[in-house]
Amino acid sequence: MRVLTLVSAAAGLAALGLVAVIAWPVGSVPAPIELTGDSQRGAYLARAGGCIACHTNWDEGGPPLAGGAPLETRFGTFHPPNLTMSASAGMGNWTITQFARAVRQGVSPDGASYYPTFPYAFYANLTDQDIADLWAAFQTVPAVDTPAPDNEVPFPFDQRWGLKLWRAAFLPAPRTEPVEGKSDPWNQGRWLVEGVTHCGACHTPRNIAGARVMAQKFTGADALPGQDKSPAITPDALAENGWTRDDLAYALQSGIMPNGDTFGGGMGEVVRHGTSFLTDADRRAIATYLLDEDG
């Protein structure tokens, strides 16, 4: 008797807890953004942030930002959505506030959490002006009315409410704030590396729940999408492998490593569709920060 009551009470509580988690609102509604965006600067940020790399299916020659190549992870296969301004298949009906919430907080217009395969955690410190610039740049992209396929994520990972627990446990704030006493290039590099260029998304190992292990930051990771592995990019590891600041800046421009070989894996895409479009000054800033040199 007693046991049964206990069990059903526990089950009832658990169910209640579940309902609470499912209903628990995540993120916050940002104040409206009324700034005028600069589409050129937004396009630059979209290159730096990998939005264009991930949301375009380059292998199939897909139109820009109309949906990316599938990302195969151990939690399932994710299809980066269509981000064109199509009303039926993309963001045509979105407001800039909804866009800001998606990019900075990882929360969809209807309040659901996005999977961290979308590296929104790195974009959390983008300013309202950055968001306005990105939004202006996305307006210039031709609309494509074909939606990206749905994610293929098996149970239990298909339960988006579970991501709320994940967020509560694992969502790290990006450390992009300037450090006093460091040079301007170093601080600009920090802003890029820790934030929008999200180097840590692939170079920091992840735990069993897919969250980055910050104590092992930049020590390299395996089990990246498509069975990719990345090497360590700590200052020591880079120095050991003979990287200088100029070599690193040049590799981010050309994809060429000091031994004449070229990047493969996800890094090839990062350079080809991302860092090769940045200014020399920004690539040197990234290298300065990563090697922890003075500017």
Binding site: P64, T140, K229, Y250, G260, G264, G265, G266, R272, S276
Partner: protein
Amino acid sequence: MKIHTILAAATAAAIATTAIAHEGATGIVLERMKAMSAMREAVKEMTPMMRGQVQYDADAVRAAAQTIESHAGQAMIELFPEDASREKSYAKDALWQDFDRFADLAMQLETQTRGLALAAANGLGGDQGGSGGMMGTSSMMGQDTSAMMGGASGDTLSAEALADMPADAVFEKVSQTCSACHTPYRTKPE
């Protein structure tokens, strides 16, 4: 004492194996690794010139471009037959699943290195070298938001069109093609 010697020998051996990563491969796998390594050497030879670190030498660039060209295109495609043994190979199975795209990239490398040989005499472009100035991607940094937002990339320009560009701009298209093929079709040792 002895430990030290052993350690030193082990390190030397480790260095030796990284230097010749294709150790252990035989037959056609070894052949294509050697071809790839010859291309790597050619890239390595041109890089300091393209970066403005050493004196630019148009003849050396032309010769290195021709070396890569000789290993690209049909010559490269023939080194990847589907039915050969893949032992000790770092090629991914995806290569044979979308062989047409692999072959397109091999052909693109041939076109681009032919273009580089023609462009060698043009010398370097901008004063900064690299992506500044007038290279193919330059419009993306200028007024043209559409290209910056993922529009036409200029990857498929003809050799004749490339021949009018600064050598360093063509060189970067070449290296991006190496990388574009390594991204989907090659795994890393270790």
